[in-house]
């Protein structure tokens, strides 16, 4: 009895906080837009009994999904989101790995401070930090003023409202999510392994590629997923830093909901997004599990 209870708690949790909301969104996605409150039809009428439910089900259809397939805006937005997420994940890894490596190699007394500095940005609201990037990157912003002042450029660089600004924003925001898991694996690495590699004929560099890098693989994979998954659906950064040609599915979703008030289409977009994300999430879970097994 107690065992059933223990197992039931997480499943109930999952049911209440994930499955039920998802089913509600799915239901809206299968509905039609209507000028009403809520802005879709049909709505479920339990008072009418069995006939009401039947009538409700008969009115649901996949029209919105066929619409998504027919309009190339949507699949272009999905593709563009994937591309931006992939590129920014790669950039985050490129910047985050050396930082994590340096942290793991620093004197032990410094490490808590360095770790603290990595987490420190979280103490300020995410929105404010993205706004301040607008202040830095805009044509009258600090970056351009500085570059003009040292004479490197004559006319201000157009960074804000481009994809470049989105990359900067994403890399900045998600860098800690890359650094922390990579640092965790690098810090655990036994220094004697590197000495053993050198003893067996490796140079410092080949010892890194043959020992350090493969042994930090699980941290790299975890970090990449932690950056990649939220970036695909990112809405704030592209809408604040990106331009009109920055196409990301999070932005499309927001516009469908709030500008068009087309809840059914927006819900369909969200459902597809979730289905796309399930693949990396499952892969991420696999990686975590594999690592636990190899440690245990």
């Amino acid at each position: 009895m107690r065992r059933i209870f223990v197992i039931a708690v997480p499943y109930l949790w999952l049911l209440a906080l994930f499955l039920v909301p998802f089913l509600i969104v799915l239901k809206i996605a299968l509905s039609d837009m209507a000028l009403a409150i809520p802005p879709y039809a049909p709505t479920l009428d339990f008072q009418a009994g069995w006939a009401g439910i039947k009538a409700f089900v008969s009115e649901l259809d996949f029209e919105n999904f066929t619409f998504l397939a027919s309009d190339d805006l949507y699949w272009k937005a999905y593709l563009s989101s994937l591309r931006i997420a992939l590129v920014s994940t790669f950039l985050t890894l490129l910047i985050g790995y050396p930082m994590a490596y340096a942290m793991a190699r620093s004197p032990e007394a410094w490490r808590p401070t360095l770790l603290m500095l990595v987490i420190l940005p979280f103490w300020t609201s995410f929105l404010i930090r993205v706004y301040s990037w607008m202040g830095i990157l805009s044509s009258e912003g600090y970056l351009n003023q500085f570059l003009l002042w040292i004479g490197l450029i004559d006319t201000p660089l157009a960074i804000i409202n481009t994809n470049l600004a989105v990359y900067i924003g994403v890399v900045y925001t998600y860098l800690p999510f890359m650094i922390l898991p990579v640092y965790a694996t690098l810090e655990k690495l036994d220094g004697q392994l590197l000495e053993a590699a050198e003893d067996l004929g490796c140079s410092r560099l080949s010892a890194f590629w043959l020992v350090t890098f493969p042994l930090s693989r699980s941290g790299i994979i975890a970090g990449c997923f932690l950056v990649f998954i939220p970036t695909i659906g990112e809405f704030v950064i592209p809408s604040l830093l990106g331009g009109s040609d920055t196409l990301m599915i999070g932005k499309v979703l927001w516009e469908e909901f709030f500008s068009n008030r087309d809840w059914p289409v927006a819900s369909a977009v969200a459902v597809i997004l979730l289905l796309i994300l399930i693949i990396p999430i499952v892969l991420f879970q696999r990686n975590e599990q594999k690592q636990r097994e190899s440690e245990g």
Binding site: E195, A196, G201, S206, S294
Partner: protein, 374 residues
């Protein structure tokens, strides 16, 4: 056919494989190694023995190339290797934690060093097979390090460090992580492998029994200095200082003053009103010089009645340490000093002749002890 004794250190014509020449290593203010000079010969099994912090690991790490000497030179086969990086010297090391690569299989671990030499595949495979056979690991070639036992991991580490056929193999507390029974078996296995491969081994250990079992010569270290280098039997029987006598095995130290009574014979006065102890010593002492008489407990006999012996003292049994095959009696003398005597338990314990609080006599011959100046 008479077997020649392996003792290149006694042969002045032999050139050593390794020569430490006035090597000093400092870490900031701390002197880890203090002006050490020592020769190690080819095919030796050389043990560095000492308590933790005595510098034995630092000395070994300098041989491996992980530390560079602050002063002095280290020669390996006529070449100064003091500043050669670890990947450029014909020396391999077996690490205390084994340092097996967790992401590689046993086979790949052993092949790791060979692959760095860019040998062709067949040669690597043949060599790895040979190493697997030598360490009896063939069945585990495909396993990962976390899938095998501690003893097997130890053998993988040994196979990996021997694979490149180094001139010199360094072993850092190689058996420290094994339990007592397995350790004993492995000690003989190590000696066996060392003889089969003809490699020179240098082992670091804090376990004197291990050093005595495996080594051709033992260097006892203390505070960055080598205090004595000898064969295991000489280290035990003829320690040159109280420190060595005390560190190796169990010993009774009796302090007193020496006065000569004949050629190489001294009487040691060690307390008011007690007859002096007689001991032979090849080391000479001046009249009234402070000295210490070191006697191993197994060389002290225990009697119920006063024996006919050159040296005899009376006391009361304070404690009995029963070790199964042996018993060590802690006997308190009249002055409060405790002398340990060891007897083999040839009878069953119920028929033991002595028990707590018994008045007994202890005796030893004039050659039983070693007379030491410091």
């Amino acid at each position: 056919m008479p077997q020649t004794v392996f003792a290149p250190w006694d042969d002045p014509k032999e050139t050593p494989l390794i020569r430490f020449e006035g090597v000093t290593k400092r870490f900031g203010d701390f002197t880890a190694i203090d002006n050490v000079s020592v020769d190690i010969f080819a095919r030796e099994f050389f043990a560095l023995l000492g308590p933790s912090g005595c510098g034995k690991t630092t000395l070994m790490r300098m041989l491996g190339g992980f530390e560079t000497p602050t002063e002095g030179k280290i020669w390996l086969g006529g070449q100064d290797i003091g500043r050669t990086p670890p990947n450029k010297r014909p020396v391999n090391m077996m690490f205390q934690s084994y340092a097996l690569f967790p992401h590689l299989s046993v086979w790949e671990n052993i092949a790791f060093g060979l692959r760095r030499e860019r040998l062709d595949k067949d040669k690597i495979a043949a060599r790895v097979e040979e190493m697997l056979r030598l360490t009896r690991l063939q069945r585990f070639a495909k396993r990962k390090p976390h899938q095998i036992s501690g003893g097997q991991r130890q053998r993988v580490a040994l196979a990996r460090s021997l694979a490149k056929a180094p001139k010199l193999l360094l072993l850092d507390e190689p058996l420290g992580a094994l339990d007592a029974k397995l350790r004993q078996d492995t000690q003989f296995e190590l000696v066996d492998i060392q003889e089969k491969t003809g490699t020179t081994f240098v082992i670091v250990t804090h376990d004197q029994e291990e050093a005595m079992t495996v080594a051709t010569r033992v260097a006892v270290m203390d505070e960055g200095r080598i205090v004595q280098i000898s064969t295991p039997d000489k280290i035990y029987e003829e320690p040159q200082s109280v420190y060595v006598a005390d560190f190796i095995g169990d010993v009774n130290i009796i302090e007193g003053t020496a006065s000569a009574t004949g050629p190489e014979t001294y009487a040691i006065t060690w307390g008011e009103g007690r007859p002096p102890l007689i001991a032979q010593s090849q080391r000479s002492f001046s009249e009234g010089q402070a000295c210490s008489l070191a006697i191993r407990p197994e060389k002290v006999a225990i009697h119920a009645q006063e024996p006919e012996a050159l040296n005899r003292v009376r006391g009361k049994i304070l404690d009995i340490a029963y070790l199964g095959n042996l018993s060590t009696y802690h006997v308190e003398l009249a002055g409060g000093q405790i002398v340990k005597a060891q007897e083999a338990n040839t009878r069953r314990i119920a028929r033991r002749s002595f028990t707590w609080e018994d008045e007994v006599w202890l005796s030893w011959s004039d050659t039983a002890g070693v007379l030491l100046a410091e």
